[in-house]
């Protein structure tokens, strides 16, 4: 079968069409909403933030997030949350989280977990 000439120039076709139909194409943020995406890898684990995507509504966000973020890897559940629902501290004010005085009383230094686990398993070393 000899190769025939065929026209396949989708880029040019789309640009031409867009220029014919619109004075100025709409910007992405004017039409689709931004969602934050969380993935729960296994049952019992916390959903983990993996990124964001645009979608027209929550249902579509789920459908599209499945391919944006779960083309590979494991998961048992997917969450999407409109980014507008998130309230966040400004990054410039990260100093509200700084500790400048001694707060070691809040650390769990005295609670030796590994020792207690070994004891429960009957493996505790005798001095």
């Amino acid at each position: 079968m000899s190769p025939k000439t065929w026209h396949f120039n989708p880029y040019h076709q789309r640009i031409d069409e867009a220029m014919q139909l619109m004075d100025e194409p709409p910007k992405a943020d004017t039409e689709w909403i931004l969602f934050e995406v969380f993935v729960r890898e296994k049952r019992g684990e916390h959903p983990v933030h993996v990124g964001a995507l645009h979608a027209p509504d929550p249902e579509m966000a789920i459908v599209l997030a499945k391919e944006q973020y779960l083309r590979r890897g494991d998961a048992v559940q997917l969450w999407v949350v409109p980014s507008a629902c998130i309230t966040a501290t400004p990054i410039e004010e990260a100093d509200i989280f700084m500790h400048t005085t001694d707060k070691s009383y809040r650390e769990a230094y005295g609670y030796r977990v590994a020792e207690r686990v070994r004891h429960l398993r009957g493996e505790e070393k005798h001095g």
Partner: protein, 264 residues
């Protein structure tokens, strides 16, 4: 089942080509959207689905290889047009986004019904493949259903495009269930159910859904269920294809045929 006899082996082989060719061509048409999808997320989702469909074709061609037909690469890239057994439905150009999602929806439902039935095929390798592919197709159906439901009713333009897409796709979709001479052998041997049975289940599924999505379907109510009021477009299952298929094969097979069997 016992040993595959000449007739039932030929019937099985024909069937595997039918299913595999539909998957490969639909995957190929979907892949034509890569880079030019209406929006990034939709582009990525459909490209991923295209990869899935091509992977499904590869699995089905693998069954053909085990039956002595050739490697999946040879079947995909070195086979001439009259040997293809896809429905003409699968070779049509991708059209606009509406046509693409309507076509995917109609095919995804057909596949769901088919794989469910084939999970009980008397040919065990096919039954195993059916059970595996059924799992992946579930998401494909969620994806295409969501698009059809949302675009069917959204705006005047989306409704108009979706109705035009359905009007064009529906007669060709009926071609997915085109009867062939060897069908009776398949049904007798328990390899696959009758196409007319699958078509009826398919109509009972897609008609209410499309109507709820705001679209008019060319069907009427009959005692046995929904009945199409348009003629089906047949021919693909007999190896009769259109100039769209010639263009598609030219594009898809061009690189392989420069040097068949080259190692990449």
């Amino acid at each position: 089942m016992g040993e595959l006899t000449g007739d039932s082996k030929a019937a099985l082989i024909e069937y595997l080509y039918m299913l595999g060719d539909d998957e490969l061509l639909l995957g190929h048409r979907a892949s034509e959207w890569t880079g030019i999808g209406p929006i990034l997320e939709a582009d990525i989702a459909l490209s991923s689905i295209a990869q899935d469909e091509m992977g499904h074709a590869e699995v089905l061609y693998g069954l053909l290889e085990a039956l002595g037909e050739g490697t999946p690469d040879e079947l995909a890239f070195n086979r001439d047009l009259p040997h293809w057994r896809n429905a003409i439905f699968s070779e049509l150009p991708r059209g606009d986004w509406g046509f693409t999602v309507v076509r995917h929806y109609l095919h995804d439902v057909a596949e769901h019904i088919r794989w469910q039935a084939l999970a009980n095929s008397s040919y065990e390798p096919l039954a195993q493949v059916a059970r595996k592919l059924l799992v992946e197709e579930k998401y494909h159906l969620v994806h295409s259903q969501t698009w059809v439901r949302k675009l069917g009713n959204a705006t005047e333009e989306s409704h108009r495009r979706m109705q035009a897409a359905l009007d064009r796709a529906f007669p060709y979709a009926l071609g997915l269930f085109e009867p062939t001479e060897l069908e009776a052998v398949r049904v007798e041997a328990g390899i696959a159910p009758a196409e007319s049975e699958l078509q009826q289940r398919w109509l009972d599924d897609v008609v209410p859904f499309l109507q709820q999505s705001g679209l008019t379907v060319p069907v009427e109510q009959a005692a046995t269920g929904w009945r199409p009021t348009v003629e089906p477009v047949y021919g693909g299952r007999q190896g009769t294809h259109t100039e769209y298929m010639e263009q598609l094969l030219d594009a898809m097979q061009f690189v392989y045929r420069l040097e068949p069997g080259a190692k990449w």
